[in-house]
Amino acid sequence: MNKRPIIIDCDTGHDDAIALLLALGSPEVELKAVTTTAGNNVVDKTFHNTLKVLSHIGVTDIPVAKGAESFFFQPHKIADHVHGDSGLDGPELAEPSFGGVKLSAVELIEKTVRESAEKITLCPMGPLTNIATFVLSCPDLLPKIERISFMGGSAVGGNASPVAEFNTWQDPEAAQIVLKSGVPITMCSLDATFDAYITAEEKERFRQIGNKAGILTAELLDFFGKFHAKVGNKGAPMHDACAVAAVINPALFEMKRANVSMDLNGTFTRGCTTTDITGVTGRKQNCDVTFGVDREAFVELLYSAVKNLQ
């Protein structure tokens, strides 16, 4: 079977870590490169966390690059209330056994796409700063992007403001540049990702796999689950893993085609992904938006991926 080549752009992060495991353990995709951005925490930490997670499960041959330290038009706000001080509190991980590449995130994406014979799918799961810079600076490579499947946004509701999701709220202008890029886009929005949760019982199944990846998953969920239990969510939502899952098997999600454009100038609504599902704006549809997920099948997909790893 032909593996779909993907690049993950992340701000690791508990659910980012699990998204990495999903990508690495799934035969349907091949992880060509990982780039990191400021988001859940500062980029030095998200970069370091990414290296630690990959090292832990013995994956040291994938290029990892450090990306944006700050956002286009607004200062960075970290989410340490969700992910802890390190950006990945909980599991005790050894220091990384390999370093990243010398290239910047944008340069690594550029090089990977340029050198690839096949089209590449991008899976961003943090603020879209790196991806927007890539879109702006490499317009000639956009035809080689199969799709951008990003975790972010919401049609209704939000987690950073009443109407805005954290990633798009952090760098709305970057999100707008990506949404207007003309590349096919899947928006894995909160409308579905909050339902892509893992229950406490399911968490134990991961632990019982007994491999490093399984135990890591369980330990990540031990910490991440505490925050989500505190705020009354049903389980620990695997927001970021959805960006990869939607590439592996889009049928897991209920999708609607819509025009999505960023709210850039709202007093209360800045950072909202304005999602026009009825066509009332008359704007061209540019996104497949997730509105629901087959949760059990999603967890099963993740389970078999984690089982495939060390």
Partner: protein
């Protein structure tokens, strides 16, 4: 039992027609005044419609004030595409003998609020321009109003843009002033609620058959036919009567459930201009928010609404003036 003193602020509008029918038929409401406001159509048209409807329903003694002709700040935009050029889908009502009085809506609201001694309820069925001017002119007015029902806004998707509903979008600055002015009970009946009363057009015909086949029945049929054509033109086979739900709710606490929330109106955004941002609303996972200022309508007892509509028309059918 004391009737509830009410003012209906309205921009007829086909669903406003039914809202006024429900109010006129209610024996629990004492309609003190109707205050027209530019909205679904321009001011002259909605005012004429109010005058004609007052006469049709024999609402003698109900004052009609002079309301706002345009929004506070934003440019005027009407909904002629839904309600027709005259605001009532071309349905001709007998011409009213009596015109509106020259007293301004905001002054009438204040006078009636004083007279009602804290019991006044207001149904705002159009843009909130009149109410906003009233609370700006009379800072003590908010504390004198028992309840304000607003047909407007939404907790979720909108109708004139992805997240904005027409009435609020038509004058968002007025809406934000009203939501934040300190009226102790503001019940926001938004699209998320009124869409629970979306019925097939034949279903509405059944409900409206109570109007009989006399003069009222004929008018009602024409209005429904017009809405049906409009709905069809917009690709729908079903419709709702937003405003009528509000007047039905005024005399029936069991019709709608609400939840309290901090609600603000977006007045800057290009995409979300006129959106009611419901801080405790659907899908919102943010825990920190302002003190609740609005009760957001959440669920509707549809069967109850249908029977209120039928019963109101039944009651009015022998009473229309032609």
């Amino acid at each position: 039992m004391h009737k509830i003193p009410v003012i209906i602020d309205t921009d007829p509008g086909i669903d406003d027609f039914f809202a006024l029918a429900v109010a006129a038929a209610s024996d629990k409401l004492d309609i003190r005044a109707i205050t027209p406001v530019a909205g679904n159509q321009t001011y002259e048209k909605v005012c004429r419609n109010v005058e004609n409807i007052r006469q049709l329903f024999r609402m003698d003694g109900v004052r009609i004030a002079t309301g706002a002709k345009c929004p506070l700040v934003s440019a005027q935009r009407t909904a002629g595409n839904v309600h027709g050029e005259d605001g009532l889908g071309g349905v001709i009502l007998p011409k009213a003998q009596q015109k509106a009085e020259s007293t301004y809506a905001w002054d009438v609201i204040y006078e009636e609020a004083k007279r009602a001694q804290g019991r006044l309820q207001i149904a705002a069925l159009g843009p909130l321009t009149n109410i906003a001017i009233a609370v700006l002119k009379y800072p003590d007015l908010p504390s004198m109003i028992d309840k304000l029902f607003v047909m407007g806004g939404t907790n979720g998707f909108g109708n004139v843009s992805p997240y904005a509903e027409f009435n609020i979008w038509a004058d968002p600055h007025a809406a934000d002033i009203v939501f934040c002015c300190g009226i102790k009970t503001v019940n926001m009946v938004g699209l998320n609620l009124t869409r629970q009363a979306i019925l097939d057009i034949p279903e509405y015909r059944r409900v409206f058959s109570a109007a009989g086949d006399g003069p009222l029945g004929k008018i009602v049929t024409q209005l429904i036919d017009y809405l049906g054509t409009r709905a069809h033109g917009l690709g729908n086979t079903a419709m709702t009567l937003h405003d009528a739900i509000v007047t039905a709710a005024m005399s029936d606490d069991k019709l709608i459930t609400y939840f309290p929330s901090y609600v603000r109106v977006e007045c800057q955004s290009e995409n979300a201009f006129g959106q009611t941002v419901v801080f405790a609303g659907n899908g919102n996972r943010v825990l920190e928010q302002g003190e609740p200022n609005v009760n957001v309508a959440d669920t509707l007892d549809l069967e109850r609404f249908k029977s209120t509509l039928s019963a109101s028309l039944e009651k009015l059918k022998g009473r229309v003036a032609l």
